[in-house]
């Protein structure tokens, strides 16, 4: 999970320099992990899109060939072998990308669990009201949990969509649906602009980004 982000990078080195301890330390590290995981997800999304695009192109050219074969000789049962191996190859690559995405989302869920743990600990320490003074600038622990929850939900839905696309993209022959599948992969409809803003807010609050 080395941050491939060009902007502010949160490395373990500057984590250690900071003096934050306890729950705040954990929350700050979690925020950094969110950032890194989302960067990783974006990279995977890009890689996956290129593969999916190839799959669609192979599939569409195959179905064109099938049409031609069907027209010239009525024996359309002769399956065009050309591209089948390539198609399978690309599908495996896409499967690989989705597997990595599953790993990313699993890690995100761990972050969520850890955030809930912090919340529970705080309730134990300070009662149901929680702590009186915010850990960082303004957010209380519940707001952290809510933000993490919204991020988690977005990526969980997005992953489910990716898995559906993975299943369908190799079988889709109508060009409109293929375009919609690709478009869904690229534009990530379940990952609205608020997700990015929520992450930025999280980084600002925890002091990874200068105020």
């Amino acid at each position: 999970m080395d941050g491939e982000a060009g902007d502010v990078m949160v490395t373990s080195a500057n984590r250690k320099r900071s003096v934050v301890t306890g729950s705040a330390r954990k929350m700050k590290d979690n925020a950094a992990d969110w950032h890194n995981l989302m960067m990783r997800w974006n990279k995977l999304n890009e890689d996956g899109f290129n593969v999916a695009e190839k799959i669609v192109n192979i599939r569409l050219s195959q179905s064109d060939q099938q049409l031609l074969v069907g027209e010239s000789s009525s024996s359309s049962s002769a399956a065009p072998a050309g591209g089948a191996a390539e198609l399978e190859d690309e599908c495996c690559k896409l499967q690989d990308v989705v597997n990595k995405m599953v790993a990313v989302v699993t890690k995100m869920e761990c972050l969520m669990t850890s955030q809930r743990g912090i919340q529970d600990l705080e309730e134990f320490q300070f009662g149901p009201e929680g702590r009186k003074v915010p850990q960082f600038h303004t957010w209380n622990t519940k707001q952290f949990e809510r933000t993490c929850g919204s991020l988690c939900d977005a990526f969980r839905s997005e992953l489910r969509l990716k898995q559906t696309i993975l299943e369908e993209v190799g079988h889709t022959v109508t060009s409109d649906l293929s375009v919609v599948l690709l478009s869904c992969w690229l534009h990530q409809p379940f990952n609205p602009p608020q997700t990015r803003r929520a992450l930025e807010a999280l980084l600002l609050e925890t002091g990874h980004r200068p105020l």
Binding site: L161, T164, D176, V179, C184
Partner: protein
Amino acid sequence: MSKLALSSLHEALRKSFKSLGDNQRVWRSVLAECGPPMASLGNLAEQSRALANVQISNTPLRDFPDLADRLRFKLALATDAALGQLNDKMSSLQSVRDAVGNQVSAVLQLYEQNADGLDVAAVTERSAATPSVADMLEWLQDAERHYRRQYLRRKTLLQTLRADNLSLLESAPKRWKSLDCPSAEDCITDTLCKVSFLMESQ
């Protein structure tokens, strides 16, 4: 009198052609930068068209009830971003148009101020190295007109685009391309070649 006027006119022409050359380079590079956002505009329109043609509830994506709306929103965002980029480029094109326009009108004004002192022979006289003042003024005006029309046509094209009119958006890249006018561009390059001796003689 005539000689002095002629030499100050030559000086002004030199300046204008220098600026024309600089602006031509800027215009070309900005126009080239318009290519990618224009292409993605057409591409996004295609995706929106495909989305409109597909009944999501009849596809394997039916498990995602609000998918179509969400995707439409994302496509609209991306379309907006591409249009925003193009608008930024348009203001660069506009400043090229304005710069060329200002230069040319300044030279013409200078000519008009001195027109009485210049006889026809002086204005039309040319040598192997220096084109006549009349010719050069004409070339400058041609260049100015070219950029003015180009800018207007491109601006109009962008202003007629509507997010809800897919066919306009789909055809936009093609229509944008059809506005290219290589002959007029070549004309300007030719002009700059023709005045290169004048530019070098200081």
